[in-house]
Structures are given as C-alpha cells and as structure tokens.
Amino acid sequence: MRYAMAVDTKKCVGCSDCVVACQTENNVPIGYCRDWVVEITHGTYPQLELEIRSERCNHCDNSPCVRCCPTGASHYSDGGIVLVTEDKCIGCGACISSCPYDARYPHPDGHVDKCTFCIHRVQKGQKPACVEVCPTKCMYFGDLDDPNSDVSKVLKKRKFKTLIPEAGTKPQLYFLI
C-alpha cells in the first residue's frame, strides 16, 4: 500500500477551504497551518500565467525528516504516511531543518507537527478533510498500488509533476499540470 495525493493545478482556485478544513479537523493551533496555498505568477505582463497549488507534507518515500530524527518520533506509518509521535518528539528541530518543503512547524505544545494525510479518517475509509471539502474537487487521494483508486486513475490520464524532485525525497504529492 502506498498512499498518495494528486492536486489539479488547473482546477484549484486558491480559495483556502482545504486550509480551514484541515485546521478545524486537526485542531491546528491558531496562526499555524499544515496545508497552505501557493500562487505562482510566471511571465511578464500581459503574458502572464498563474499556477495555484494546495501544498502540504509530501509524505516522501525517502524522507530526510524520518532519517534525521534522533528519537524515532518521525516515522513511516501505514501506506508510507509520515507521522510524528508526540511523546517521543524532543522538539530538537532537526526534522524541520531537513524538510526542503518546510512542511513542518514547532507546535506551541513543544512537539513538531505536520500533515498526517488525516490518517484517522483514512483508516475509517474516509478521505482526508482537505480532499473532502474542496469545492472544485481538485484533489485526489488513494492507494497507488490499487489501479482503481482515484489517485491512480487520474495519474494515468494526466500529466503531472512533483516538487523539487532533485532533492531526492521521492515526494508522494503529485501536481496535475
């Protein structure tokens, strides 16, 4: 099993509903976020091109954050989801420095926090909160090992990219382009 997510940059309108849904679902402290929206403008006026992406932890296959964690708090869970065990984390910050996407943050309670792909929902057969709530249905989630999952199907049809593949992290968050 290998969970992954695909985000359609052609459909995302940058409404930030996914951000709010995550904050509510996961009780993210005020002022912090586990997922966020990036808007990138390329070109010169009037030839402008806009790309909007909803980003979060890439649940990398080769995660520097898991590798550098001295206590084993950062670890791989079911289907390659990268998680932090709160009461094993000493808050040393190594994993925060190691993530090229800056996907982690120090929780005010001291431990490190990040996207969990809503593992508590996924284990019940539900979709992550961000995927569920998106008004344009631009996100696809599922098991890459299952050819009939939403994410496998859309990745078969569409062109996609990952972010900073050259960092060697083997990210599992795909962006449809």
Partner: protein, 313 residues
C-alpha cells in the same frame, strides 16, 4: 524578461518567511563541542607522545576545563529543545542515520571521559587535593593505570565529536549551504585550532606556547584552504548552491563572514603568530582570543546563513 512571483499563504512561526528554528543555542553547542574536542585531542596526543611533563597545560590542566565546556554545551542543546520533558528520549534510541542521535551519544561517552581524565591529574595540579572517600581514590588510581587506553579513546572520540559538529549540518540536503561534505572537516579543523589556541593562551611554558602557536598556524592554513574549496565547490554546483554561496559573496553575510571569521579569526592571528615566531613579543592571548572568537562566529554564521539558504520552487 521572465519573472516569477510566488505568494504563499503560510506563516508558521519559526518557519516563515524564512527558517529560523535554530537560534543561538545550536551554534554555541557546536562551538563548545568543537573546542572541547580540540583540547581533548591534544591532551591525548601529547600524552601518547610522552610529553606529559613537557606540555603540562595541554595534557594535565587545560582538559580540566572541558567537562565544564561540555556541560554548558549540553545545557545549550537542552535549551534548544522545544519539548524538554521528553529529552531523555534521546537516550532510549540509537539511530545511526541521525547525526543528532550519534552526536548525543558521542557526548555521553566523551563527557565522562573528560571528567575521568581530569580526575587522574587532579593531584598533579592541586597537590593538596583530597578525594575524601577511599573508593574514589582507588578508582582514580585504577584509571591512572589505563591512561594510554584512555588517551586513545579520547583521541578517537574527540575526532568524532569535532567532525559531528559539521556533519550535523551537512546531513541536511534541504539547506544547500550546509549540504557540503567539507563542513565536517572544516568544523573539526576549526575546533582543533580553537582548542590549540586555548592551550596556547593558558600555558605558562614558552616552549609549549610556541608549539601550539605553530600548530595553530598550520591549522589556519588548512582551514583557509577548505574555505576556498567550499566556495569553489558551491560555485561549480547547482543553482541553489550558487545562490547559497552568494550569501557570502555579496549577499547579507558577506561582511560578517569575511571580517569576523576569515580576517579576525584566521588571517590576523596567523599574521601575529608569524610575527611572534620571528622573535617579536605579542601577548599570547591576543591571537588566541581572535582564533577562538573566529571559531564561534563560524558556527553562528553558518547555522544562520544555512537556514536562509533553500530550494525555491
């Protein structure tokens, strides 16, 4: 011209707009670890070379400072932890892939070792010293028998500790400035040179001072070569590393790096030491303080600049 404008809705504390998860604690910890490693390395080395009585400061009493240096360093590391009640988790796991983990374990070996080494010499340095309990006396006498073995372990672990202070950073490929394997040897050399400078500063024996001044000169030459090498490597590498090097070549860290680390920390003391070796008199503490402060600044600047260097996507 093509332009690219990136707007992100993320504003996480200590992560955005640019990473600053590590403040003064980690650089201080790396500096003190490096300095202690330098002192212990020379203590072991000159003991094994039979210079115990010739270089008394290096072998016998300057190492007595290292347990304090290491304790303050560990204290700084502890202050850096955001989840302090769980710090003991560091010592319930050994993760070889995590420099933070094996560094913490290295400290667990070298700190007691530095205390034992100091204890075996305490009666040489303070003749009136009394351990009060007989079993401590016996234990210390036992360790005195094994000084050669202790010296070997100390040399090995001080090199590991010195290299670790650099590898802790160079293992992060997310921060292009840190992601160069030369950082390990560079920080090791800088720690050795700071250790030699401390011995030179505290020694009362002119011969010992001259020896450590020569050692420092050599180490500074090695450091300068590595610094040049590091920038050559960056300039010939990928765009993110070229940008990382630019932080020091015209960017915001240019003045502080070249003035405090290279000029005051390496070139000027080297010049003063050559001047002194030629027979002129310069108080030993002047070049020594410069070298030690340069070593401290190197840690601060690299830790901070590294967090400012990143992949843009």
């Amino acid at each position: 011209m093509k332009e690219e404008l990136i707007i992100s809705g993320r504003m996480n504390y200590k992560v955005d707009p640019s990473l600053h998860i590590w403040g003064w604690e980690i650089p201080l910890y790396l500096f003190l670890g490096g300095l202690a490693a330098g002192v212990l390395f020379f203590a072991g080395l000159y003991y094994l070379r039979g210079k115990e009585n010739e270089y008394q400061s290096a072998v016998k009493w300057v190492p007595m400072i290292t347990p304090f240096l290491l304790a303050i360093g560990l204290g700084a590391l502890f202050l850096d932890l955001h989840h302090k009640p769980y710090f003991w988790r560091l010592y319930t796991t050994i993760k070889l892939q995590s420099p933070m983990s094996w560094g913490a374990w290295t400290l667990m070996v070298i700190t007691p070792l530095s205390i034992i080494w100091s204890a075996t010499y305490i009666k040489d340095v303070f003749p009136k010293w009394d351990w009060k309990y007989k079993w401590v006396d016996d234990l210390v006498a036992y360790f005195i028998e094994y000084r050669t073995q202790l010296a070997w372990i100390m040399i090995i672990f001080s090199v590991i500790l010195g290299i670790y202070t650099g590898i802790l950073l160079s293992a992060f490929n997310a921060r292009p400035l840190w992601n160069t394997s030369i950082l390990g040897p560079l920080f090791l050399t800088s720690g050795l040179s700071a250790g030699a400078a401390l011995i030179m500063m505290l020694s009362k024996n002119p011969l010992e001072r001259i020896r450590f001044s020569q050692i420092d000169l050599m180490l500074i030459a090695v450091e300068l070569t590595m610094v040049i090498h590091m920038f050559m490597g960056f300039r010939a590498s990928t765009e993110v590393q070229i940008e990382a090097a630019a932080l020091f070549l015209g960017g915001p860290y240019t003045l502080s790096f070249w003035i405090f680390v290279v000029f005051i920390g390496m070139l000027l003391p080297a010049f003063l030491e050559i001047w002194e070796l030629k027979g002129n008199h310069i108080p030993a503490y002047i070049p020594a303080v410069m070298i030690i402060s340069g070593s401290l600044m190197l840690r601060f600047i690299i830790v901070h600049a590294g967090q400012a260097s990143r992949y843009l996507y």
